[in-house]
Structures are given as C-alpha cells and as structure tokens.
Symmetry: D3
Subunit: 244 residues, 6 copies
C-alpha cells in the first residue's frame, strides 16, 4: 500500500519528522511517502495560512493520483483542504485532527487538546464540532508556542508542552490528551509517560486509519458532495488546477 502524508507547510524538517514517526507504526507492507507542497506558507497559524496551504495540498493529491497512491493523510491539525482533497482522490483521505479526536473518543470519556497558538483554538473547536467530537472535547489549550519553535534545536518546547498537557489534564478532569500540532508527533510517548495518561498523536492515528479503510476496501463515497469536481476553466496563475 502506498500512503502519502502531506505536511501542508513547506518546512522540510517537520515533514521528515512526520515521515519518521509514521513509519514506526505503519504495517510492513505500507510504503510511507511524506511530502511538503511546492507552494504555500512555512507554517500554518491562521485562517489565512490555512487557506493558502490548500492549493499546494491539492497539487500533491493530483500528483499522488497519477502515482497510484492508495490513501492520504493531511498532516496539519486544522485539516486544511480535507473535503476538496476527498473530491480529488480515489482512496481515503484523513486529517490528523480528525484521526486523533476519533481515536481519543474510543479510549476515554473526554479529551483535552493542547495546541500551539491561542488564535488557532477556535479552529480546533470547529473541527471537533464538524466531526461530532465536540461532546468529548473538554477544552482546547494553547502553549503560546509558534509552530516552528517545535523545529528549533535547543528550544524549550518539549518541556512547555509537557507542562501544558499536565495542566490541561488536571484542570479539565479529562481522560486523555490530544496533541494539537503535527510537529508534536515525536513527543507523544514521552509526554504520555511523563503525565501518566494516554496522549494521542494525529499523525500515527491517521496512518492507521487510512490503512484500516484501505484494508476493508472503503473509499470516499462519490454519491454526495465529495463527488469528483466538475470540469471547468480556471483563470490566471491557477489555470493548471482546471479540471478537464
């Protein structure tokens, strides 16, 4: 099985880390391809960044389809472009917020999300609502760390995030923690041990979910609003995105 993970930002060190973590949990017969798009923001920390990460994601889906990819993971906690990607792909497409929240709801009665900047908390709440997971989400907490601080050697991010997780758990009286950024994927086990509670990372969760859907031969239904987009002209710089 070919499984493509798209890190929607263009920071290669994060893409590499995501690819490595994914490979530790993938089945032996799964080939993990981790990429950043050719265009878009260095990190995603606003609706603006999120919106402008989508063209690059959709290009990667198009390339993936040509390359025979069986399923996709969108590895940013805002799940940007998820529905547009589902329209374009034959196989399943899963967002990491989606995957992590679903997994959390299977092992606890409630979860707390710990994410980077406060301004993205609403995005997490909207996704929780969209996926039906709002009832399990006790709260969304920000560590006030920019996304790329997670990539900076010598950063104090690891300690700060662990502490935020510990506080979230106590304050919310929740059962487990959902990590709110793909860049935290390598911290999952360590934090879980430190705080003594399950910690859910969306990257590895999404990899297993895509593998599961492929294994039981479930693909995105094309009967409704995720049918393939209709052919039409595209103008200007976006002309290459036209559907024929």
């Amino acid at each position: 099985m070919k499984l493509k993970i798209i890190n929607p930002n263009t920071t290669q060190s994060m893409t590499d880390k995501i690819g490595q973590c994914a490979r530790t949990v993938a089945s032996p017969d799964t080939r993990i391809i981790a990429v950043s798009p050719r265009m878009g923001p260095a990190s995603i920390e606003s609706h603006y960044d999120e919106a402008l990460s989508v063209p690059g994601i959709l290009e990667e889906i198009r390339l993936g389809e040509a390359d025979g990819v069986d399923g996709y993971v969108i590895a940013c906690f805002g799940d940007p472009g998820l529905y547009a990607a589902r329209e374009m792909a034959r196989g399943p497409v899963i967002g990491i917020a989606e995957a992590a929240m679903h997994m959390a709801s299977l092992i606890g009665t409630s979860f707390s999300v710990v994410t980077t900047l406060a301004r993205t908390c609403n995005i997490a709440w909207h996704l929780a609502e969209r996926y039906g997971m709002e009832r399990f989400c006790r709260n969304v907490h920000a560590c006030d760390l920019p996304v790329l601080e997670l990539e900076r050697p010598g950063s104090d991010a690891r300690r700060i995030i662990t502490e935020s997780c510990r506080q979230a758990l106590a304050q919310d009286r929740s059962d487990c923690i959902v990590l709110g950024c793909a860049g935290m994927t390598d911290l999952c086990e360590e934090i879980s041990e430190a705080i003594g509670a399950p910690v859910i990372d969306g990257v590895v969760s999404a990899v297993k979910m895509v593998e599961s859907l492929v294994a039981i031969r479930l693909r995105t239904s094309k009967r409704g609003d995720w049918a393939r987009p209709l052919p039409k002209a595209y103008a200007g710089m976006l002309a290459p995105f036209a559907i024929n």
Copy 2:
C-alpha cells in the same frame, strides 16, 4: 463609503449583475466596487472550486486595503475564505449566505434555501450551523442547475428556480425563501411576487449589513482568531502572499 463586492468566480457577466443589484439598494453615499479575482474557477460548484477561489479573494482584499475600502462582501453562497478575509481586512467582511440567513431569521420563523446543484447542499447546511442559523433552516433544495446556466441568455433558469421556490415553501411549510446563489440576485423580487412570500437575496442583504456595521463603527475584533496573520515566508507560486 467604499464597499467592495468580490464575486469569487471569474465570470464577468455575473460580477456585473451583482454590482448592478447592489447599487439599487446601496445608500447614496456608498460607492459599490464589484470585481472578480484575477485567478480561479469560472464557477464554484465543489469544495475544490471553493478552496481554489480563495487565493483570488485574498488578493482582492489586499488590493482593497491599499485602496481604502471600508467593507467587503464575498458574493458566493459558500462564503469562501470569509475568516481569512476577516484576518486581512480592517473593515467588516460579510458573506452572502451569512447575510441572507441572518436577514431571513429576522422576518420568519423558518426559511428554505433554494440553490443550484445538489452537491453543494451540505455546504449550505454547514454554514447554517456555523452561523447559528441551523434552527431556522427547514431544508436546502437544489434545482440541479449549473451556476453558469444562470448567465446563459435564453436559459430556462428563471422558471425552474421559481418553481423550486414554490415547492420548497409548500413542502417545508417554511415562512420564506433564501436564494442560494449570487447569480440569482436579480430574480429576488420577481420570485417573491410569484410565490407570495418573502425571498431573501444575500447580495443586497450583505450590502446593507456592511453599511450598517460601518455606520455604527463596528469592525472585526482583532482580539481572537481573526487577528492579522503573523509575518512569515511563503514558497513557490504563492510567494507574493507572504505577510511581512
């Protein structure tokens, strides 16, 4: 007051029609600027089209800010890029689905949406939920007309849409109709007379809402997740979108 209406698709005839309808209701001291973006899809009929209309919308916001625009309308019933636009603009930004649903909830206990293609009905439902208007929305109906059929001279669209509105009203026992496409803006009064019930068009609704917000000096709050995006690098074709 300078009020810019962005028709997110690149079909100029629709943009012209939208501008004309807007001018019929605008206050004497409001100058309406109606534009299509320089890039993007000819019409918006999928999540894919919607996502790829956003870069062009955001470029128009950037140009508008440089041009001293006081407020914006996004004139596509999916309200694409609304939150990203709010991050970038100083004045208020209103989507036409948002405007029409709010107005409908002020004059009836329930409304029915009549839109173009069935595959976009879910988008309308999601917006209704997002805006708190789900409780007023009895149903979303599709006429199975492509968006550009509304622009084709000699098309039967006018009759088909009127009939759909009449049926929606009877079937849902609703109080009024919300038109689910910017391209229907010129049909509003005629359909209202034909079916004997209020019909709400988002274009004119949004124009009056933006004027109202500007008149009482309310702008998007910059305290939360609609604060101005953080400066960062953008790669590839999207490099011009970088925030400094």
Copy 3:
C-alpha cells in the same frame, strides 16, 4: 422612513436618551420616533415586569400602524412582546437583544453580555438560544445595578459597567462585548475605547437592521405563526385590545 422605537418601560429620561443615540446613526431620510408606553412598569427587571410591559408595547404598535410607521425597535434587552408585535405590524420589528447579538456574531467569534441584575441573566441566555446566538455567547455577566441607577445623575454606573466589561472580556476570552440594557446605549463608544475591544449596543444595531430590512423591502412573513391575529372578543380592562 418612519422608524418607531418603543422603550417598554415608562421612564422618560431613558426614552429620550435612546432616541438621541438612535438619531446619531440613523440615515438622513429616517425619522426616529422614540416613545414609552402609556402603561406598565417603570423598569423591567423580572419576568413579571416583562410580561406587564407587553400590553403597552402592543398599544404603541397599534398606534404606529395607524400612523404609517415603516418599522419598529423594541428597546429592552429582554425583547418583550417581540413575536406579538410582529403579528400586528406590517413592517419589520426588531428587538435590541436580537440586533446586538446578530451584529456581534458578524465581527467576532464570541461575545460576552454585560447586563444589570443577575436575575435577568437567564433571560439573555434564553434569547441567545432562541436567535441561534447561543454558540457565540461565552457568558452573561451582571453588574448588580438596578436599571434606573443608569438614569440617576451622579451614579457610579458608568465606572462599574466599564469595569464589568473589562473583566468579562478577560475572563471569557471573548472577542467583544454586548451591552445588556437599553439604558447603556450612550456608553457604548466610551467603553469600547476604555477596554480596547468592540462593544455592541442593541439600540443603534436595531435601528440599522430595521433600516436595512426596509431598504431591501423585507417584511415579516405572514405565512406562519406571525400572521395577523384572528378577530375575537377581549374581556374586562383589556377589551380595547380586541381584534376586529
């Protein structure tokens, strides 16, 4: 356009203040008529007061209809008698809680209400639910000020309310403030400057909403439960309210 604002309590100083604030935002061709009913409570601070303000409101609607009024504002944050008034009026009728909450939802992801007495907080919550605005309302705060304290020269109300707004914003991490009493209408801009966030007053919001609805020719739908009341006898002191 004739726009009648009904202050449902009988305190003339508040009615005058409401009229003045309304006139500062009204369009040049709008004539503002601000009145108190001939009967009812001096202030509205309970379900009992609210219920007994309604006959006076409905009398004013009847007089307004005879007088050719184009639209109405009910200027008490409990929006008393709103639906009954809609049944009686030809033009639109808007409540100030309704107007303020809708406006707030257009410029922020969340709002906090700051009102007078704690016993009225539930009324605000019920209205938020009724209008679909509950999802935007983070909390309702009381200053523990009686309504008429806002009218007392030399009162400390201005300082107390400003402080409550500041605290509400911080505590709720909300984007903006909705003022929960018509008597606060003159404090809106001052508080906004003091706390550095948008503050929404229902009186001016409602004036612009009624003007907007009239401008785009939308009236209360008479198809549903807001149809004109059926003719019938009324007994006793209320006999003059009989519909013929």
Copy 4:
C-alpha cells in the same frame, strides 16, 4: 390542599370542563378551584392573544396568594406567563404543556403533539425546547380547528381530533400522543381507546404534578430569576399591578 387552575381565556364553558376533568383525578384532600381571569381574550390562538392573557393570569395568582392557594396550574397549551407566575407564587406553578410533555417522556420514547391551529405549532416546539422535551417530540400536528370549536355543541371536533391523533401516530411512528389544547381534556380517554395508544392530557397531568410537588414540599426556588419581583411603580391602566 388548595389547587387553583387558571384557564387563561375567558370562556367559562371551557373553564368548567377543565375543573371537572381535574376533579376526577385529584386526591381526596385536594380542593380544585378552576377560574378564568377577569380580563383578556376569549381564546388563545396567537402570540398576541397569549401575551394579553398574562395580566389576567397574574391577577389570579395575586388573588390566589391572598387566598392561601398551595399550587397552580396554567391551563393553556402555550403555558403563558409561567415564569412571571412562578415569581409571584409561593407554591409550585405548572403549565399544561410542560406537564403533558414530561409525562409523555416517562411512558414512551417519543410523542406527537396534536393541537388546534397550525399557527400555534411553533409555540409548542419552543416549549418543547425550553423544557428539554424536544428530543422526545417527533412532530406537532394541527387539526385546523379554532379553539372555541371545541366548545360548540354539535361540533365535529371530537371526530377530527381523533383522526388527527391516529394519523400523527402512524406518520411519526411515535409511541404516544400529547393533546395540544386544554379544551381537549375531556377527550383523552376516548381517543386513547380509539387509537390504541396512550394519550396524555396536560390538565390532569399538571394537577398530579402540582400535588406531587406539594406532597414532597418542593416549591419554586427563589434563588435565581424566579425570585419575587422587585417593588416598583406601574403606570396607567396597569398601576394596580405595582409591587410594593
């Protein structure tokens, strides 16, 4: 125990019928007092009628308090003035829609409401929501009968209502029927036998609920927004309603 049933309309034949049905289920030591107010509409079929029934109800509560009444039933399916009445009364006050919906939720997984005019269906839905009973309410059906048709000798109401109940049950696949008008109280057992399903009448339900609350010494909490109204002046015709 003195239990006062207030029929909010001024039609004495309906008040008598309500009193008789209440007495058939009351405990031996309960004295039922059934009254119509001295003022207000002959029947309640709109928000307007409902609002104007409240002064008369509140007068009856005041008289009841002076008379040592232990608890009250408001016998109109819109439950008009319920919260204002709770502020004024020492003992419990129950509305018949409230009582019927609660009882229905204890004996079935879902109920259908069958009421008089279509224009009141929304009122029933709003009450269901207010009481937390929306999840049990499958639908609200109107028979298109004016309320006073139920009082007209020789009317076909009995047959029409029975038929509506039968259809509602089949169409909604619900477990039981809630009768949506106090004037249907005498039809309850007969319809239940005719359609072979439980039929719930709010009048008898409310009588037993008030008796139950009194028996276990539960009264309206005065800690929140149902505390006694504050003293203040009332103007004009409503001056007698002033609280001292």
Copy 5:
C-alpha cells in the same frame, strides 16, 4: 395501589431506609414494597456494578408482575435496567435520577447534582442528556464518599454531603440541588434547611411520579421499543430469564 421500589444493590439497611422515606410521602392508599434483589453487587459504583445489578432487578420485576404490582421505582441514581424493566412491566417504571431531574426542572432554572464517587459523574451526565435534562444541569459534583459509607453508623457522610451541596450551589450559581444517590434519601429535608435552597431526592420524587401516572392511567407505551420482549431461549445460568 401496590408500588414496588427496587433498590438494585443488596444492602438491606439501605433498602429499609428507602422504604421508610417512601412511606412518609406515599398516598394513604399506596402500599410501598421495598426490596433488594436476590443477586448482584453490595453497592453500585461502576458501569460493571450497574450492569450486573440488572438481572436482579429484572427478576424483581417478574415477581412484581406475578404479584399484581401497579408501578415500580428503580432506586439507584444510575437508573440501571430502566428500559428493560419497562419492557417487562405492565405499569409505569421510573428511575430515581429521572424523577429527581424532572422535579428539579419544575422548580428551578438550573440544578446541581451532588453524588458519591467521581467515577460516576459521567453516568449522571449521560442520564441528564437521555432525559432532556442536560440543559438544566449546571454540574455534577462528587463528595468522594463510597456508597456504603452512607450506611455506616458514625460516618461523617451527613456533614460532608451537606458541605458539598453548599459549595455546589455557590459555585454553579444554581437554583437547587439534586441528591445523586438513593442512600441520601433521609438527608433531603435536613440539607435543604441547612443550605436554604430546595433539595430534591429521587426516591420520594419517583414515588409521587409513579402514583401520578397510575392515577391518570398512563402506562408505558407498548408500540415502540418498550414492547414486551420476544420469546426466545436463554442459555446457561440465565436460562430462567427466557421469555415464553
């Protein structure tokens, strides 16, 4: 009327206390039969205990049906086996959480639950949701007392629970308290006096509700999923539970 109260745990002292409290509020013509099942847990403090209390409850229902019982109360705050019991009984069956929450919603705008162990708080929330009472439930508080501590002579439970109720009321700004354990039934009046607010006990509430339903001849509807179970074989130790 024969009314059987099933205390689902096997601790006889609690059953006796429940029976005594029930008798103080029962109507003169009601005969209260209070029992513990012959099998099952000594106390109910987990989903496991709850699930394994159900066979014993169902046996008691079967015996009650043979004995001509008119209605049942399940006297554990988790309302275990409620729907299965409704399938088996001819008369009404009420759970004490159900009864207490309904009663609370009739006398206050909000309630707080005070229960025993923190691990059961979710069960209370799920029931509140199931019964439509979630909107009235401000919070669920645990005293961290094991259930049987309530039965231990010399225990400090009375003081601890009273203190928890006082704190819950203040912290939640709620109108009244719902006691979250059948074993607290004898503390109800005392706590109410101590904290100066209504306190609702499910045991006495349920007794009056069953009496009310029987008085107005309402029984569980057998049209839906509470119809009598279908005949079938049962294997092993549970063979006696087979339906013929």
Copy 6:
C-alpha cells in the same frame, strides 16, 4: 496480537461467521478468537435481551484477561456492556456500532443504518448520539427480519436486506450504508456492489480499529469512569462476578 471477538448471543453459527469475516481482514500477525458467552439470549432484540447478554460478555472479558488478550470487539450492534467491559479490560474494547459509525463518518457526509427489527431502531439512535455520530446519521431503517432469520439456510434475508439498503440510500439521500447487525457481516461486499455505494460492516471495522489502537499503543484511559471496578461482594447467582 490476540484479538477476541465476543458475539453476545449464544448462536454458534453467527459466531463462526463473524470469526471468518474478521479473519479475512485481520493483519497476518493478529490471531482472531471468536466466542459466544456461556450464558444469555439466543439473539438480542430488546433492551431485556441486551441487558441479559452483559453478564456473559463480562465473563468472556475476565477469561480473556487471564488469557493475555490484547483487545476486544463486542459484536452486537447495540454494543452491550461496552463501558463495563472497558473497566475490566487492559487493552481496548470496541463495539461494532461504534466502529461502523466512525468509519462511515470518514468516507461520507452522511449514512443510513439498516437493521433488523423496528423495535431496535431507538437503540441505534442512542448509540449514534453517544458516539457523536448523530449528525452523520440520516435515518435508521428496519427490515423487519428477526436476527436469527439471518442464520436460517434458505432464508430470503439477503434479498430483503439488499432492497432495504437500496431504498434507504435513495430515501435519505445519504452517502453510504451502515449494516445494523453483526449477522450481516458476510453480506457487506455483495450489497455494496449491488447498490453502488459504500456499505460498512461493524465487525471488520472494529477489528481494524482494535488493531490500530494496539499498534499505536493506546489503551482505555483508567483516569475516569472506566477505571477498574472497586472490590466488593456480589450476592446470589452472581457471586462469581465479585471483584477482589
């Protein structure tokens, strides 16, 4: 990995079929153990059957724990005893309704459930609500087939179920079908081909979910109400279930 599937009814042919279907999708290193409990109903078609299937399920969990099982599937669409099982097991426990609904929400915007008897439809709705999947569930349809008819050689079940699925899809305009009975597991692919839409079977879905959770080392959180039950005495026939 040892994965135990518990078919909560005692019908061995269904257990065998479930085991076979599970093995077709399991990973090479997963050993599937499919069992029926030693006690309980031959099929589950009521709350009564469901409640009485739980002791047998819990016994199988106890045996599984002694046997080193890594994770469990409860293979009845009512997910009986799920939370009690989670308290007792070290590894994850997944119900098949839970698994199927989650999977469906990942590949479509909406699903329809097709189940056996109408009286179980409410159970499916309650589970959808519990899992946050209610917003994706358009409707629950019954084929009016008893569960064991699925096991009867020569039965017409296959045709009837396929037809129900086809109708459900058309009527609900949903994107995919969720099969509402473990006994339908072998029909999944065939129906999918017949109706041209994804069909989701809970048995294979749950197998992949348990495998996924084990692969990423997520176990039920023991911090909240799914902690191990407290030690206590059990009386009568259920004495062996006592926790030490």
